[in-house]
């Protein structure tokens, strides 16, 4: 197990290096630092202002080779944007925002709270409701309840998230006046009001796909021998569903859950943008719109890191949830 974890971490690290190279090509080779400076401080600044901006943001070095130093000097290769980029990212020194000079760590720290306050309850509620409802549908399989829920799921999946958002804001916020249409306030007295509509809509929007997936998983388990044995032993139907079926269907659920957890930090671009929640999703959109390359680069990097981490965690959780899965060097599973 330990060897496997080490190997996965090594592969993960190699992937991170690859991601960093792609980021370098996209953010430095395609978008020139001079261009970044013009976009950040406008086109009417003096040459020394541009130079100072590039120096302050660490863009004042050559891309790959530093011609100031000879071929034999290591500084020819190390005093470059490429090495600087790797060193900064790997040591989590993200520097300052290209648009307003704020330390990027501060922006991420400030954005993570609002993002989590939306994505965490949305994730937990979505999971609990999704699993409970699929279990119920599997329980009432082949009845009109089961079929009706499936029809509703299909209808729900066919509608774009944007329609849910606009419709939800209009119906719940404007017509029914239950909660504020948009906005955010971290004050514990009012935060729930702002999150109510996005959470409600988020759960509804995800509901179709989740229920259909988990229902299929549960139905597969329901027809297995161990379920029949449990029933034969006199186990009640609800007990069978919760103690036996749910437990054995955990593997695909865990896959979904663990893969989703890292992205909770990144937030939801669509929900945050439409509801005015100042999280990391909205920050991403702002960074794109504001030519804030350093922030965008950092968010993409953190997203990639979390994804890789999520993959490793999923593999480890597999073995914990299902002892049949072996992760040793010679294992096939």
């Amino acid at each position: 197990m330990l060897a496997y974890i080490v190997r996965r971490l090594a592969f993960g690290f190699a992937t991170v290096l690859g991601v960093l190279f792609v980021l370098f090509v996209l953010f430095f080779a395609v978008a020139d630092p001079d261009d970044m400076a013009i976009r950040a401080i406008g086109e009417r600044a003096s040459p020394e202002t541009y130079a100072a901006w590039k120096r302050n943001h660490g863009y004042d070095k050559p891309l790959i080779l530093n011609p100031k130093h000879g071929w034999t000097s290591h500084r020819r290769y190390t005093e470059t944007l490429l090495v600087e980029h790797y060193a900064r990212m790997l040591s989590f020194r993200f520097g300052r925002s290209d648009s307003d000079d704020t330390p990027i760590w501060r922006r991420i720290r400030e954005g993570a709270g609002p993002s989590l306050s939306l994505t965490l309850p949305l994730f937990v509620l979505g999971l609990v409701i999704g699993v409970a409802l699929s279990l119920a549908v599997a329980f009432f399989r082949d009845t009109y309840i089961d079929r009706s829920v499936l029809v509703v799921c299909m209808l729900g999946m066919s509608v774009a998230s944007l329609i849910y958002i606009i419709g939800g804001q209009y119906l719940i916020g404007k017509l029914l006046r239950w909660f504020p249409i948009s906005g955010f306030d971290p004050d514990p007295a009012v935060i729930g009001r702002f999150l109510a509509i996005p959470i409600l809509i988020g759960v509804l929007a995800e509901f179709g796909g989740t229920v259909r997936l988990y229902r299929t998983v549960f139905l597969e388990e329901v027809n297995r021998d161990y379920v029949r044995t449990a029933r034969a032993k006199g186990c009640g139907e609800i007990r069978v569903m919760i103690r036996h079926v749910l437990r054995n269907a955990l593997l695909p659920i865990i896959t979904n859950v663990v893969l989703a957890i890292p992205f909770l930090f990144i937030g939801s671009i669509l929900f945050e943008s439409f509801f005015g929640i100042p999280g990391l999703g909205a920050l991403t959109v702002e960074a794109i719109g504001g030519n804030d390359f350093s922030t965008l680069r950092t968010i993409v990097y953190i997203g990639a890191l979390l994804y890789i981490l999520g993959q490793i965690l999923t593999d480890i959780c597999y073995s914990l949830a299902d002892p049949r899965v072996r992760l040793g060097a010679g294992a096939s599973g």
Partner: protein, 679 residues
């Protein structure tokens, strides 16, 4: 089974409770009865540095946090300057050599709002670090030098170029910094002193400041009613350097205005609170014109309740706090206004026809007590030609002029306003907007009235009958460069394209983002463009300078995007600029307008008209027409607001109960049948 059932019941009960207790009120209940003014912003200001901030979003904060030496009378029109932090309007002295000086005197006893940066100034009599200090004339001089400082990046350097030694100081400072890194490491105010300061900025005493100008510049005084010239403490600039967890000065204003910035969360909210150190609060007995509610105004002001004796002469400000909440999308923001959660709002296009009927408020809005304030902005939106272009520009001579005139006649501006602006706007006949000196309601530009027959005739005279170049036999093709790629903007551009197509001119839109558009302007790589200008101050010079040749975009990077050059226009501009308002100046302005009319470097389209809605609990509302801080004049009635908000926002819960009942009616038979069959 019984345990699960009880949990389900608890869950259902919690859901019911939360729906019963639900409210769409975005604010804490405790704030409902306080004098808090609520408004929105859609993007955080890029900088709150008064030497740099030049957009309305930033001005909404800097204008209220930084007091200015001069201000405008809130109610009087035409706009009238009154003393602010200065004791009186500046006195003008003309020397024997014709050079002019302006002398200001600050009120003694003005204080900055409390801030920890003043610890740098030393300790007070009690031995504790200072929390504030008195405002002195040297602070105004310091701020003016910051405007000159190239490192600060002020966009208005050239506006102060008439101050003797202003540009020389800028060059000297740059040279000293380049020559010595040790010099650059010193505090900025020390650098300025060592660079010798600006020759024309003379601190004549603790409160006295004199500006020596190289030539008369009557417009300069207007810049003292803007935050660019507000006193700024050197301590704040030095302390707030963005290092060791301290914010940048551009994010932490320290000023002398009626409000101070208490909370600045760029992606969430900005909160201004009443500045207890402001002279209007500390010295109401001064009855200073900038710190008391005016008692003079027009008959319309009296009719609209702006001259209520209950307010006349009362010390400002009336509001305790101002909350700016981030609202990126205009539709939710407008809905919140209709729900009573924002106190004032513009009207979004999507709802315009519901809100305004026959140019007046709809009965529904009137029943709610909402009021509409209309005002024509000191602005101009126009289509410009690049005069350096060989086809549409000056190089094409008479042909080019006739082509521009023909294209001008082909645009039906009233129709454009109806289609895209909900009729909001005044058709522009010249580059001077209504309300500014030199504007004439009677003046009709012969090339502004839509006339296709005349346009076609002029096009033929230009050598392009039906859009075909007589010389080459090829169709005339022109490119229209734009700074927006949004679908809404493209529709607007298409309107112009279709207008020109009707006379046979084939124009192609070349849409790019704004930065790329600016790059094209810089390179002169364009033929036609669309843009607008909003006045900095109420003087025609602020529009006429846009076509003065030394501001040519390609040559100097200035605001003359059309690269228009006309010697007579330039001569008149420089003469007019140095004149006070009077018949001579008016004659010069009229001649300049006629040159633009004939040469057509621009197709003047419209002057924007603002429609602002206010709830009945907001008092003393008047649209100002310029980007100018007026929050200190507004008052609120929180009890009325709380009552109306409550009555407008009663949650409608019955659909939930019906939905739950229908769901239960749908599921229960199935559940009962299922368990019965199992048994």
């Amino acid at each position: 089974m019984p345990r699960i059932s009880s949990r389900l019941w608890i869950g259902a009960l919690a859901l019911v409770m939360s729906v019963v207790a639900c409210t769409n009120d975005p604010y804490p209940g405790a704030d409902a009865r306080r004098k808090i003014y609520y408004t929105s912003f859609n993007e955080a200001p890029k900088s709150l540095d008064p030497a740099v901030a030049y957009d309305t979003a930033a001005h909404a904060v800097t204008g209220n946090v930084y007091g200015s030496l001069l201000e405008y009378h809130y109610l009087k029109r035409p706009y009238t300057l009154i003393p602010g932090l200065a004791k009186a309007l500046p006195t003008r002295e003309t020397a024997a050599d014709g050079s002019v000086s302006y002398a200001f005197e600050l009120r003694p006893g003005l204080l900055y709002h409390a801030d920890r940066c003043f610890a740098l100034a030393g300790k007070g009599a009690d031995g504790k670090a200072l929390r504030t200090r008195e405002v002195v004339a040297a602070d105004v001089a310091f701020e003016l030098m910051r405007v000159a400082d190239g490192k600060v990046g002020s966009p208005v350097v050239r506006k102060f170029a008439t101050i003797k030694g202003f540009l020389e100081f800028r060059k000297r400072l740059r040279a000293l910094r380049q020559a010595s890194p040790a010099f650059s490491r010193q505090p900025v105010h020390v650098q300025y002193a060592r660079a010798g300061g600006v020759a024309g900025i003379v601190v004549t005493g603790k409160y006295g400041l004199r500006l020596d100008l190289s030539r008369p510049d009557p417009q300069l005084k207007y810049w003292f009613a803007m935050p660019f010239t507000s006193p700024v403490p050197w301590e704040a600039v030095q302390y707030y350097d963005g290092e060791d967890g301290r914010p940048h000065f551009r994010d932490h204003p320290v000023g002398t205005g009626p409000f101070r910035l208490a909370i600045y969360q760029k992606r969430l909210r900005m909160v201004l609170v009443k500045n207890e150190s402001w002279y209007g609060v500390r010295h109401p007995e001064w009855r200073a014109p900038g710190a008391t509610y005016p008692s003079e105004g027009s008959a319309a002001d009296r009719r609209r309740g702006r001259l209520d004796p209950a307010y006349a002469g009362k010390p400002l400000p009336f509001i305790q706090r101002v909350e700016f909440r981030l609202e990126k999308e205009s539709i939710p923001a407008f809905n919140k206004f209709l729900q009573g959660y924002f106190d004032r709002s513009g009207i979004i296009s999507e709802s315009f026809d519901k809100i305004v009927l026959n140019d007046a408020l709809s009965p529904e809005m009137r029943a709610r007590g909402i009021r509409l304030e209309k005002s024509v902005q000191a602005s101009l939106f126009y289509i410009g030609f690049n005069m350096l272009d060989p086809t549409v520009g000056a190089k094409a001579g008479r042909r080019g002029r006739k082509l521009r005139q023909a294209m001008s006649l082909a645009i039906d501006v009233p129709e454009y306003l109806r289609l895209f602006q909900n009729g909001r706007g005044v058709v522009a006949h010249s580059l001077i907007p209504p309300g500014l000196y030199g504007y004439s309601r009677k003046y009709r530009n012969p090339f502004s009235d839509f006339d296709l027959a005349r346009a076609r005739k002029l096009l033929a005279e230009a050598g392009y009958p039906k859009g075909i170049d007589k010389k080459t036999g090829e169709p005339l093709k022109i490119t229209f460069d734009t700074g927006s790629t949004s679908a809404q903007a493209m529709l607007r551009y298409q309107y112009f394209i279709n207008s020109w197509r009707r006379i046979g001119v084939d124009v192609e839109v070349n849409a790019t983002n704004y930065n790329q558009f600016l790059e094209k302007l810089k390179l002169g790589a364009y033929q036609i463009y669309f843009t607008g200008w909003i006045a900095d101050f109420p003087d025609p010079e602020n529009f006429l300078f846009l076509l003065e040749s030394s501001s040519g975009r390609k040559e100097s990077g200035g605001s003359n995007y059309s690269n228009f050059f006309n010697l007579r226009y330039d001569l008149l501009y420089h003469a007019m600029r140095a004149m006070e308002n009077g018949p001579k100046r008016l004659a010069a302005i009229r001649e300049m307008v006629s040159i633009v009319e004939r040469e057509r470097p621009w197709i003047e389209l419209f002057h924007d008209e603002s429609y602002v809605l206010s709830h009945p609990w907001v008092k003393n509302v008047k649209s100002f027409g310029l980007s100018y801080p007026v929050l200190k004049y507004l008052d609120l009635e929180p009890a009325q607001r709380a009552r109306l908000r409550k009555s407008w926002n009663q949650p409608i819960r019955w659909p939930l109960w019906i939905a739950l009942a229908l769901l239960a009616a749908f599921i229960l038979p199935g559940v009962v049948t299922f368990f019965r069959e199992r048994q």
